[in-house]
């Protein structure tokens, strides 16, 4: 019997012929810890009695949720993090370069075939380059830091095929939102999502990142794409035969297969306050809005900002609406500055912020209050995510978000 991509990655790591349900111990290639959880990881690491990291080269610490500090107490996280770095000889640290999930592949830490874990649920993002990656808690992370190993249950795989060409203004965000709506918020719990088909092959790595990022919103353990030439370019590598063979075998055992025809897909939104509450944008046209947010590890990449700038070209953000644009990393910020994208967005009336998690985690940079409504390109619309629990959050693609910013209400892009 053949294997799915995830079974191949785990099989190679462990040297075993694995099948779904097997419990195996894997050797971890990379781990990521971000600023919110570093104090807790540090405490647990010492409580476990470890005195050194299993491999300092494989550990990445990223300050992103709290950068720059908006509350005095936030600085404790940087102090604790810096002390941990010094004490244990950690080498890979980013203090203001952007969002963790953007940097882990952008800065070359995660490559095809790797197994990576992070203290954040959106760690699923690295599946965009053909890696197995998933979120864990801080106690588990402390254990991995000391041992370099983690036990996992080999997940079943759901195969998602998207064939054909996406219509104009329908993006990978619409694909993943539609899928989450169809699967439900727990439709893929404990399972892996494997993406294939001509529409997926035609996507940039950035677009695939959007999909992998949101796999957790259907409960998935991970999402994964076959590495191709685009992946190789993005990672700055030449693919080996082993990396090229990270594709689902024709006789692999899938728990479920779902197919979409790309031309059938339309712009959609996740309506308040569940990510699986998906409706076509056309059914929501006219709903008034107070703010638009374009950014996050889901949709803060160059192509997202360029798409928004193109839609806003020659237009202005509607009166009484604030448009907040947050590039996902310093690299993206600089590229968008160099090619005129930021200038165009600013000309249209956007507020452009420093790279980081920003508004997505609701700590700073555009908090809303009771009765306000926001169209946002990030990954969660949970109660209280961007301010009070009576803020209504609609999740959408950058194309839809930009069109809404200009119209001052929900419209199709």
């Amino acid at each position: 019997m053949g294997h799915t991509i995830i079974e191949k990655i785990i099989g190679r790591n462990t040297g075993k012929d694995v099948k779904p349900g097997d419990i195996v111990t894997v050797n971890v290639d990379r781990v990521m810890i971000h600023d919110i959880f570093i104090p807790f990881v540090a405490d647990k690491f010492e409580e476990m009695g470890f005195t050194e990291l299993w491999d300092p080269d494989k550990v990445v610490l990223i300050y992103d949720h709290l950068v720059p500090a908006s509350q005095v107490d936030d600085t404790r996280h940087f102090r604790t993090g810096n002390a941990f770095v010094k004490k244990y000889g950690l080498k890979n640290i980013h203090r203001s370069d952007g969002i963790c999930h953007q940097l882990m592949t952008e800065a070359g830490y995660v490559k095809p075939g790797h197994i990576a874990f992070g203290t954040d649920s959106h760690t699923t993002t690295y599946g965009c380059v053909g890696a197995f990656s998933s979120g864990i808690g801080y106690t588990e992370m402390a254990s991995v830091l000391g041992t370099g190993q983690m036990w996992i249950k080999v997940p079943e795989t759901i195969k998602i095929t998207v064939n054909g060409k996406l219509p104009e203004h329908v993006t990978s965000k619409d694909v993943i939102l539609r899928l989450i709506g169809d699967l439900g918020a727990d439709g893929a719990t404990y399972q892996a999502l494997e993406f294939t088909g001509t529409a997926i092959e035609a996507m940039s790595v950035a677009s695939r990142m959007t999909i992998a990022n949101m796999a957790i919103e259907a409960g998935a353990k991970c999402a994964v794409f076959t590495p191709d030439e685009k992946t190789a370019d993005y990672c700055g590598i030449t693919l080996t035969d082993a990396e090229r063979s990270l594709k689902g075998d024709p006789d692999a055992g899938y728990v479920r297969e779902i197919c979409y025809e790309a031309s059938d897909l339309v712009p959609v939104m996740a309506c308040p306050s569940q990510v699986d509450n998906i409706r076509p944008v056309r059914e929501l046209v006219g709903v008034s809005i107070d703010q638009v947010f374009i950014g996050s590890c889901t949709n803060g990449r160059l192509e997202d900002l360029q798409c928004a700038a193109a839609i806003l070209k020659g237009k202005k953000v509607a009166p009484f609406v604030k448009l907040i644009v947050t590039p996902a990393s310093r690299k993206i910020y600089r590229e968008a500055m160099a090619d005129g994208t930021l200038a165009a967005l600013s000309e249209a009336g956007a507020i452009i912020t420093h790279p980081g998690c920003g508004l997505c985690c609701g700590r700073a940079g555009g908090i809303l209050t009771d009765g306000e409504r926001v169209v946002a390109t990030n990954n969660r619309n949970f109660l209280g995510r961007m301010g009070t629990s009576k803020v209504e959050i609609y999740l959408a693609s950058p194309a839809t978000a930009a069109a809404c910013a200009a119209a001052g209400k929900i419209v199709e892009p």
Partner: protein, 157 residues
Amino acid sequence: MGKIFRFHSDVDTDQIIASQYILFPTIDEMKTYAFESLDPTFASRVQPGDFIVACENFGCGSSREQAPGVLKALGVKAVIAKSFARIFYRNAINIGLPVIVCKELYDQVADQDHMELLMQEGLIRANGQTFTCTKLPDQMQRILDQGGLIASLNKED
């Protein structure tokens, strides 16, 4: 016997403990804000030995370990749901909070009913009925039996 606090489907980790509290230095400082957006009185009413009973997908959302952490700190004896989100489930076991899958219980009990958990036998008794729970994988049961991942790792040494 403990009291049941009953919750619906898809209770996310932001609802269990909101983002603005997870930066507090200790779990004890956070615990009084548990379930604040759903039920601000929860933390003052729950007693050690009480239970959370939920429908599907309990603990979906972020990886924050503070979510099972505050429940354990408040003395919640176990969470029993039809299903759990996987990171919450794993975190709970790692900190020694029993999380138990039981498909029938939720539909047969009301908020503030009483129940008894017989963990070794895999049984729950409530309202004169007995319910069977799903067993944990051996690996997880071992960690839970030893009181969580830290105790378990220290034992291996």
